[in-house]
């Protein structure tokens, strides 16, 4: 591909220093030569396969910053769609110093590390109660996190020897959840909310957190976690929960967070106690 569409044609050819990749913070995609900017994309357009369709594909490639673009494959997918594969050099530059990453504020631990940390900090199993609350019958989220079957190749929390899981399943009423959490002396409560019709997920979650604050003395409320595909990032405070987890969350992320949160609380509690005794 480099013979037909080298990076040399592009106006923003990087300087030799940038090409070496050691000095500047500007990089370009790498095909088979530093700085050639080569990428490959595939997509489908809802047009029958003909000359015009191929032109349309090249137009899109151009608008995506591919110049020159090379249409290497076009195939009809039924009478009304065409599939394309395009190679080409992109004019865009990647400025590494401007890359922003939202870092996770807790370390991701392995199952073994999680189990040993629980043993060390709690000296008993960590109790997690989970449920789909309200009318929500979609247990796929809570099951993915809690059930041993797990999600994305990772086993769920049931699999961790030091985590005791109570999965209440679908359509659990808030008072029932609070009662079970107290009965089980839950360290954490996980609720899943998939249904978002008329903002049900927000109402249910706020009702849940309020019920827990009412039922428990201040500072003793279990760690409250809400999960679901439609929660806004950063809305945990407004919902009255400790943490929101969105789409694609894996069981080990939740477990790692729990360890982090429990350790924080535990640490805080042990630090506070001497202070109280002095009073």
């Amino acid at each position: 591909m480099s013979n037909t569409a080298g990076g040399g044609h592009v106006s923003s050819t990087p300087t030799p220093g940038e090409r070496s990749g050691t000095q500047g913070s500007v990089v370009r995609p790498y095909g088979d030569m530093t700085g050639d900017g080569m990428i490959q994309v595939s997509f489908t357009l809802p047009v029958p396969h003909d000359k015009r369709a191929e032109g349309a594909a090249l137009q899109l490639a151009g608008k995506m910053g591919m110049s020159p673009a090379l249409l290497v494959h076009a195939k009809a997918m039924g009478p009304e769609h065409t599939f394309f594969v395009v190679y080409g050099s992109v004019t865009h530059l990647v400025e590494l110093d401007k890359v922003e990453v939202l870092e996770r504020d807790f370390p991701l631990l392995s199952a073994k590390e999680i189990n040993t940390t629980i043993k060390k900090t709690l000296r008993r199993p960590l109790v997690v109660v989970g449920a789909c609350i309200g009318t929500d019958a979609h247990t796929v989220g809570i099951d993915a996190i809690l059930n041993i079957k797990g999600f994305a190749g990772e086993k769920g929390l049931e699999y961790y020897s030091e985590v005791q899981v109570v999965n209440l399943g679908a359509q659990v009423l808030v008072p029932e959840l609070v009662e079970r959490a107290r009965e089980e002396q839950a360290d954490a409560v996980l609720v899943s909310q998939v249904v978002t019709q008329r903002d049900a997920h927000i109402h249910n979650t706020t009702a849940m957190s309020a019920a827990f604050r009412e039922a428990y003395p201040a500072g003793a409320v279990p760690i409250l976690i809400a999960g679901g595909p439609r929660f806004e990032e950063g809305s945990a405070k407004a919902l009255g929960v400790d943490r929101i987890f969105g789409k694609g969350t894996t069981p080990s992320e939740v477990a790692s967070y729990l360890i982090h949160a429990v350790a924080q609380r535990h640490g805080a509690a042990t630090r506070q106690q001497p202070a109280k005794e002095q009073q």
Partner: protein, 529 residues
């Protein structure tokens, strides 16, 4: 499905495997025949023509069965008290009776006089019979269409999934998939439907990661596939899911609306949905009796064990489950051609000789069940988001299917575990299947693994492990007083999930049959009338 006997399995060993499965299964069948469930009773009312729901979408069958249960229990069967009430003019017809019962204004009783009970039973039988007749007519209609249009020209049959949540989006997608080469269309159900203790009503447009299974959705999709089948000159089969808490009702609806295959595993609901084991086995037996009558092919779900357990270490649990599914299926009246036993290509591709192990496992299933339409399922667990590697893995999966003579091939998508497949992903996946079948479809004829070589040895080993596991299950002293299979399920033998028989969802809907239990649907199904 003339597979050469290339594995050279010892016939006595195979017989032993089957007798072990029968020994484990028999007490469970006894359990299933001595109990009934709310869902079996509701299915019976559906066969008697009761459909529809109230303004809150609670089906009338639920109202009526609940009312009978509250007053006289379901252990006598609901039909006797219901048709007794109709004979006493509590309501002019079944629907009105259900409506009145929902407001608590019907008195049900178990008729004490022999004559009264007999007359009520006779009336119930007369009401249920047309439902069974309609299932018979649908089966005949399928046979006629297949005779006219023909089956797919190639084996395996190509099985594709559609799932938009909206039946009116599913229809054009399913028709497009058929035009692209699919022989079988499965409409995935909405997440969570398996735990609903009622069947939703009407055409639905708001499912989650799938479309609700309803009678109307079944009817719409059946009509759409009949239409495209005529256009293509090949009968397109329709699949749905007879699983979860409403398994018997969905089976009845599938028979009434001429679905062709139903996912119906003996243990999936227990293990993966935490449905009570007794509820599951009772519901399953009835639903399989309906499937047997309707000429429906069941698809079992052994692939699922391999998503939680290791596909090499747990290979024998798949074999055990297949043997159990076969035993329960045949006991319920299914014939070999209706047993779409499942298995899957789920061995970690980084493991040395993983493909040879896959071939050994796939051949084992093929040889144990030579006349069953085995369902071969694609990799999911080791699809990582590297779509290029995934596409290659799917190619090897297709090749294994072709080499070992599998019957139904669920098309693997490289987007597995990434996104809902694009139009182009589906097309690429079908190209993958077509290339393999065109280039190597006949390889099953040439593929003779050498005697006592890696593949033969591995297959024998897995079969031996399966027999040992069944032996151990039978030999174990029951700690809870249940039959060995129930004890094993409670101990987490399958898929590492512990499911005791006195826990799980739907237990409250189970009742031990009284001596005077009557169910005209079961009678018709069991007597073949």
């Amino acid at each position: 499905m003339s597979t050469p006997k290339v594995l050279e399995l010892d016939r006595a060993t195979v017989r032993r495997a089957r007798s072990h499965a029968a020994r484990l299964g028999k007490p469970v069948v006894e359990l299933a025949t001595s109990h009934t469930t709310v869902s079996v009773e509701r299915a019976t009312l559906r066969l008697a023509g009761l459909s529809g729901a109230d303004h809150e979408r609670v089906p009338w069958v639920n109202h009526l069965v609940d009312a009978v249960r509250d007053q006289v229990g379901i252990e006598h069967g609901v039909t006797t008290p219901i048709w007794d009430a109709l004979r006493r003019d509590e309501a002019p017809d079944l629907l009105t009776l259900a409506q009145k019962a929902s407001s608590g204004s019907v008195n049900f009783r178990i008729p004490e006089q022999r004559g009264e009970a007999t007359r009520a039973r006779r009336a119930a039988m007369a009401a249920v019979r047309p439902g069974i007749r309609r299932i018979d007519r649908q089966r005949a209609a399928r046979d006629r269409q297949i005779a006219r249009l023909g089956d797919p020209k190639q084996r395996p049959w190509i099985y594709l999934i559609v799932a938009t949540g909206d039946i009116f989006e599913d229809i054009p997608q399913a028709q497009a998939a058929a035009r692209e080469g699919a022989d079988i269309i499965a409409v995935i159900r909405s997440t969570g439907q398996s735990l609903l203790d009622y069947v939703p009503e009407g055409a639905t447009r708001e499912g989650f990661a799938g479309t609700y299974a309803t009678q109307e959705n079944f009817r719409l999709m059946r009509a759409a596939l009949d239409e495209v089948g005529k256009e293509l000159g090949r009968y397109i089969r329709l699949v749905n899911y007879a699983s979860g808490l409403c398994m018997p009702e969905i089976a009845a609806l599938a028979g009434l609306e001429r679905l062709d295959m139903m996912l119906n595993d003996s243990m999936y609901g227990i293990l993966f949905r935490d449905i009570n084991p007794i509820r599951t086995f009772v519901d399953q037996r009835f639903s399989r009796q309906v499937h047997a009558r309707a000429g429906i092919i069941i698809n079992t779900g052994e692939d699922n064990y391999l998503t939680t357990a290791d596909a090499v270490e747990a290979a024998h649990t798949v074999t055990v489950s297949q043997l159990m599914n076969e035993y329960f299926g045949k006991e319920a009246g299914l014939e070999d051609w209706q047993l779409g036993l499942g298995h899957a290509f789920e061995i970690n591709p980084d493991l040395p000789e993983s493909f040879r192990l896959e071939l050994a496992h796939a051949l084992l299933a093929r040889h144990l069940f030579p006349d069953a339409p085995l369902k071969w399922m694609p990799p999911t667990k080791h699809m990582t988001g590297d779509i290029f590697k995934g596409h290659l893995l799917d190619g090897f999966f297709n090749l294994a299917g072709a080499m070992t003579g599998q019957s139904i091939l669920l098309v693997g998508m490289m987007t597995e575990a990434v996104v809902t497949p694009f139009l182009s992903d589906r097309d690429l996946a079908l190209q993958n299947v077509r290339y393999v079948l065109n280039s190597a479809g006949g390889l099953v004829e040439d593929f003779h693994p050498p005697r006592d070589g890696f593949i033969q040895t591995r297959a024998r080993h897995v079969l031996d492990e399966a027999i040992t596991l069944m032996d151990e299950m039978s030999a174990r002293t029951p700690t809870r007083g249940w039959s060995p299979l129930l004890e094993a399920i409670a101990d987490g033998t399958f898929g590492h999930m512990k499911r005791p028989a006195d826990q799980g969802k739907g237990l409250e809907g189970v009742a031990r049959k009284a001596d005077d239990y009557d169910n005209p649907a079961t009678t018709l199904l069991e007597e073949g009338r």
